[in-house]
Amino acid sequence: MHLLQVSQLQKRYGDHEVVQNIDFHINQVECVALLGPNGAGKTTIIKMILGINKLTGGQILLNGKRHDQMRKFIGYLPQHPTFYPWMTGKELLTFMGGLSNIERKILEQRINELLELVGLGQVENQLIGTYSGGMKQRLGIAQALIHQPKLLIMDEPVSALDPLGRRDILELLKVIKQKSTILFSTHILHDAEELCDKMLIINKGQLLVNGSVNQIIEQTQKPIFIIQAPQLIDWTHQLMNEDIVESIELTGNAAKVRVKNIEQGRDWLLSNIINLHLPIQKFELVQESLEEIFLRMVKSF
């Protein structure tokens, strides 16, 4: 049985379908990234799993059980954790832990362990209002872990941080993921690639790809021709109208051309270049990188 099973998940606001029939599952001790551009529906999916937003269709099962009893098994870090600025870090953890019915003695021990883990031991008695963004994020992770949840859900845990804070949190998550099951959303491919076993690429409320990084690359990778020559603008404009060309992208003096059929495309491109006497400096056939796959999927959609 999967730890989390989401089937035919739907969310509609009036006529606007924010999430359309999404299916996926998460296994024990797996780290899954929900990847997509802003507004893709990531946060809505997360909030439906948490029960903050109501489903308009489909179902969500945790260990095969229904939605209502799930809260105690999930730890959640919101996108913009504000908490109570007038509480100290330690008080917030005591409060959140208490709401999860943890016994006081066990709770105190857990709090000390977690403050150690996230590196907030020094500032545990300072007011949250005085914390930096990175510190709030660490506190948010600590409170999400306090009741030893089966599943840790994080909404954009590193997006709002500076490069240093982001590195810190990523390293912390690498430690946490050894023992926990994690689902986190991000719009940054690099973070997902670095941390996760599995990716769910989402755009406009639909699931585009679902699988491990290697699977995604194997299944969806397409070859690209890279043609480098001075003044390619006119040529790329002409190519856009050709049937055989799927897409074309010009950066500097290099054009990335995707074609529908690799053999025909190569012959056609080469003969076209010869006919036009294009002074090419480079003609290369490469495989898409993960980022190119991601961008292609998100754009073409």
Partner: protein, 261 residues
Amino acid sequence: MNRFTVLLQKEWLDAKRSYKLLWLPVIFMFLGILQPLSSFYLPEILKMAGGLPDGMKFTLPELTASEVLASALTDQFDQLGLIVIVMATMGIIASDKNNGMLAFILTRNTTLVEYLLSKLLGNAVLIAGSIFLGFLSAAFYTFYLYQAVSVARIAAGLGVYYIWCLFMLTFVITIGALLTRTPAIALLSIFVLIFLKTITLLEGGFQILNPAYLSNQAVSIITSGNVLPHFFITMTVSVLLIIFCLLFATSYLSKKELPSM
């Protein structure tokens, strides 16, 4: 640890850190002292302000100690005091709701009922303390400047008056659950509560359904030792209204998709 206790402790800490625990009782003590002092010294204040023109006669009513004390409720607590209570409680639901903390708390094992009851109980205790201290100050100065009033009457009157305060609190909590902006919550609450209070002047049969009439009942208990007619009906209606407000707030919030962070 019990979740309700955890929520209550949070309310307490909030009141402490925001100094509500200090300023609310202080304001009520000030209001309590004001009434006996101003009643007692009014003739002298008038004299100091230049006195009355020659030939004009002005007789101030002779107030008894219990009347002075009772007017602390109607002239101070029910006016400025009411506004202060609304101001102190207008944000208790709205702020948690708007910044996403309420939705966040509910991702734990808590329920809306526990949450709202903790808000109600926490603030009810705070208001009880403030009113008690305020009235204690009023009684102290009344005893000192006028004469002693039966403590049993004072306690009974204050107890009845407190139910009206509980209604105010529950009403503000309900409006807070319905609306988002705190100024709107404050204005609507003050308007409705003052309206209820003002129509008690009209007397008439429908007053028995008006929680604000409990304030008149309290005055009657303090001044005469007797309740006005239909006391128990008004009491029951008020308690039922409090329960209804809470149920309404709970069901409204549970149907709504709360803002989240």
